[in-house]
């Protein structure tokens, strides 16, 4: 195993650690003989012996053949051929990536501070970490970072656009221009001179690196992207996958040896939690940074479970890649009830408190010991305290499960980060701590999905069902406690509750959270008190509430916004900006009465944007609509706007796959000839115009989404001068939904 270390003196070392990975297999005696003979013919040294190992949750051990392969490079091809040759044998430990196995085995993790005994020929005799992955106060090694990005910042350079290459080093920016040979030569020079540890790029995976490598190859020029010159650059093809009812496109990957390459535009972890968060995840999950940046968070949590299994000597079963089959709606109704949602009471409310259970699902798993092997164990069948509410399952009271054992330190570390955050006044330190805690939050968030997921190593549907059953019971308990204290439940989603009680302040909500925490055993915190919050109705049916769609202003003035255009990636910038400006204006209101007084100002903002649109000032950036392709572009049967734009790109030879995001502008949305309706942004030249009316419709919808519960109608938006009055329809002044506290002039009933 090649290991790169950064010495205290600043030198970089490539060392070799003689690591001997093992795998296990179980088979009947006759088959075992055949396998043994097969192994004797292998080209590298292999040790074999029969050992006793446990499967997860098994009461009796299994006799398995332990196979130790003395050449790590041979491990993957050899095990692959073995599985092909003997498909009837049961395999264990065969498909865990070797760097991860190495980290588990040596008790190391990425970027750990460590100490090694090294021979003169750079071989590791012993290596040990000088810190724990659970430390919160760690320092990072002084990494040299080189940044690469395309000169212009197109939405996606693969869809068009070209320019120079920007290189940033120690805060200095260089622009590499000229012909291809110049660019390759100068980049090679910079790489060899500065020898960066980390190459941080924009679009490096799908665009920059593949192109640079191809150019260098074509021109027969050296380009030292790898520090380890003997090894090839790792690459992976682009692909699409289906996740949480969305098609996601994954760009290819270019991974380097002896140097890290991270692509800001192809990394969920980097985008969500920054470099500090990515490093945090890599450290606790024990997955090397380049993999962690490009993989799903689920791989991180899986790795942590695998480590627990390895340390316990539990066998890790080999899983073929088989995605979960689609279930019928009826099957889902019975097995997959999920969390509880109370649809919001539509309208604007004052002095509302939001209470959130922190990491509810993982906390349930830890507190109630929910794990695949602890659910419906044999020993606790008749134990009343082991019962899961609502459903017939129970969990073990005697042995702590693998999943709770993996999650407990994670929950604890996140809680410590949150305490440190609360205690520090240094803004930069706080930001880093926040990135780290949110990186852990992501690991915790996905941990639940891996309890009942067929692809998960240690998943079991009963464990998944038990967690949601507990969560429903606990949310109801919280609601009951609140209602007993005189609070009204306005809205609740799985682990969050929005409550209101006339006269209740911060201290009251804190006290309520305290009682709920004590009674349920799960920590719940006050997320904040809203001066006012509006739960917004469905666009399709204005009487129908929609969960998780609201705008609210906290006591400290910050806003929380969910579900409206501003938060949607497919809304054009101009619509988002108009909505944001409107909300900034409304956000000045401290009470519902003040809010209502600000409506005319908000309407004026909408009108200003409308004039701007009509007068033709809007730019491409303001108008571009980003849409993700939900299927392969060839598979579309209707002429939707995004499909027309996709066709335009395909016609120009740009490869597209399901899950890719394309950007287009509405040119004439109602045109009879489909290609006239939209234009792809990447293909725009000098002559183009936009469909002001179509954008106006989007603008109007965005405004009404927020204003309609306040009584504003389409008419109010259309008329340019008329001041807005309260609606004078025949409705009674009583409003059971929203504005309860609000005083409206009473009219006689005629």
């Amino acid at each position: 195993m090649a290991v790169w270390l950064l010495g205290q003196d600043g030198t970089r070392h490539r060392l070799l650690d003689p690591f001997v990975p093992t795998c296990y297999l179980a088979a009947p005696a006759t088959l075992l003989d055949q396998i043994t003979r097969w192994l004797c013919r292998a080209s590298c040294r292999i040790d074999r012996c029969i050992v006793e190992r446990y499967e997860l949750g098994a009461l009796r051990p299994l006799h398995v053949l332990e196979i130790a392969i003395h050449s790590p490079a041979q491990f993957a091809p050899l095990t692959r051929r073995l599985i092909e040759a003997f498909p009837d044998a049961q395999f264990f430990h065969v498909d865990v990536s070797l760097p991860q196995r190495y980290f588990y085995d040596r008790q190391l993790f990425p970027l750990a501070s460590c100490e090694a005994d090294v021979t003169a020929d750079e071989r590791i005799l012993a290596i040990q970490a000088l810190e724990s992955p659970w430390d919160t106060g760690y320092l990072l090694p002084p990494l040299t970072i080189m940044e690469l990005s395309p000169e212009s910042d197109p939405p996606n350079p693969n869809h068009g656009g070209r320019g120079a290459l920007i290189v940033r080093l120690d805060g200095e920016e260089r622009m590499l221009e000229g012909d291809n040979a110049d660019v390759v030569r100068r980049l090679h020079q910079l790489l060899t001179r500065h020898d960066p540890d980390l190459l941080l790029t924009d679009w490096g995976d799908s665009y920059l690196l593949p192109r640079l490598i191809a150019m260098a190859k074509q021109l027969r020029l050296p380009l030292a992207l790898n520090r380890d010159g003997d090894r090839p650059i790792g690459s992976r093809k682009a692909h699409s996958y289906f996740s949480y009812s969305r098609i996601v496109s994954h760009a290819g990957a270019c991974t380097l040896s002896g140097r890290l390459h991270l692509d800001r535009r192809n990394s969920f972890a980097l985008a969500e939690t920054g470099l500090a968060g990515l490093i945090e995840q890599a450290r606790v999950a024990k997955i090397d940074l380049q993999q962690m940046a490009r993989t799903t968070t689920g791989t991180g949590i899986t790795s942590m479970q695998l480590e627990t299994a390895c340390l316990d000597g539990v066998l890790i079963p080999y899983r073929k890649q088989e995605p979960e089959a689609f279930k019928s709606a009826l099957e889902l109704l019975h097995t997959d009830q999920g969390g509880l949602v109370f649809a919001p009471i539509i309208g604007y409310h004052e002095q509302v408190g939001e209470l959130d259970f922190s990491s509810m699902y993982p906390s349930i798993m830890v507190r109630f010991n929910v794990s695949p092997e602890t659910v419906n164990c044999r020993c606790c069948r008749d134990e009343p305290t082991a019962r899961v509410p609502e459903i017939g399952h129970h969990t073990c009271r005697h042995r702590q499960g693998l999943v709770p054992r993996t999650l407990a330190p994670l929950l604890d570390k996140r809680a410590r980060y949150k305490r440190l955050m609360a205690a520090t006044s240094n803004a930069a330190a706080r930001a880093t701590l926040d990135q780290r805690q949110s990186a852990l939050k992501w690991l915790l968030v996905v941990s639940f999905g891996y309890l009942g997921y067929k692809n998960a190593r240690f998943g079991r549907i009963e464990a998944h069902e038990s967690v949601t059953a507990y969560s429903r019971d606990i949310l109801l308990q919280a609601k009951e406690i609140a209602e007993r204290q005189g609070y009204r439940l306005l809205h609740a989603i799985v682990d969050s509750l929005w409550l209101v009680k006339p006269g209740a302040g911060r201290a009251d909500y804190d006290a309520l959270a305290q009682v709920i925490t004590e009674d349920t055993g799960l920590p719940i915190n006050v997320e904040g008190i809203y001066r006012w919050i509006g739960f917004l109705p469905s666009r399709v049916n204005p009487k129908m509430p929609v969960p998780n769609q609201f705008v609210g202003v906290f006591e400290h003035g910050g806003m929380k916004i969910r579900g409206i255009e501003l938060r949607r990636s497919d809304a054009p910038m101009i619509v988002k900006r108009a909505q944001a400006e409107m909300l900034r204006c409304l956000g000045q209101a401290r009470t519902l009465i003040e809010l209502r007084e600000l409506i005319p100002q908000a309407l004026e903002i909408v009108r200003t944007y409308r004039r701007y649109l009509r007068e033709g000032h809007a730019t491409v950036e303001e108008l571009a609509i980003a849409k993700s392709l939900s299927k392969e572009p060839q598979a579309y049967r209707h002429q939707t706007l995004s499909m027309i734009a996709a066709q335009e790109l395909l016609a120009r030879g740009i490869p597209l796959q399901a899950g890719d995001t394309i950007h287009y502008i509405m040119t004439d949305a109602q045109a009879a000839c489909p290609p006239d309706r939209v234009r792809a942004v990447a293909g725009l030249d000098g002559a183009w115009s936009y469909d002001a009316a179509a954008y106006e419709t989007l603008l109007r919808k965005a405004a009404l989404a927020v204003l309609s519960p306040l009584g504003v109608t389409i008419r109010d938006l259309q008329e340019d001068t008329r001041p807005v009055n309260t609606p004078s329809s025949g409705e009674l002044p009583l409003n059971f939904g929203g504005l309860k506290e609000e005083k409206r002039p009473r009219r006689p009933i005629r």
Binding site: L340, L476, K479, E483, R488, I749
Partner: protein, 96 residues
């Protein structure tokens, strides 16, 4: 003297029990409304017992409707009286 059949009041109680999970997942104000409905079903216990239908929930629903209808009628009457009173009080030249 033991009874073989459950009384109608007992049937209502059984019905209430069978809805307990539904009731638990309602907001407090909606729980109160649900309780009022089942209380209304009990009002017609005599008629329900006399009919002795196989599907008592139908009888309960109709009993709830009867009470609802009576409430609506009462409210309608009150509104008519109040409207008449308002019109009487309105003299020309005085704003409402």
């Amino acid at each position: 003297m033991g009874r073989t059949l459950a009384t109608f009041t007992q049937l209502v109680q059984q019905e209430i029990d069978s809805w307990s999970r539904y009731r638990r997942a309602l907001r407090l104000e909606d729980q109160q409304a649900l309780d009022a409905l089942f209380a209304a079903a009990r009002h017609q216990a005599t008629a329900g017992a006399y009919l002795a239908r196989e599907t008592p929930f139908e009888v309960m629903l109709l009993s709830m409707l009867i009470e609802q209808h009576k409430d609506v009628m009462t409210l309608q009457q009150k509104v008519t009286i109040l409207e008449a009173r308002l019109l009487d009080n309105q003299t020309p030249g005085v704003a409402s």
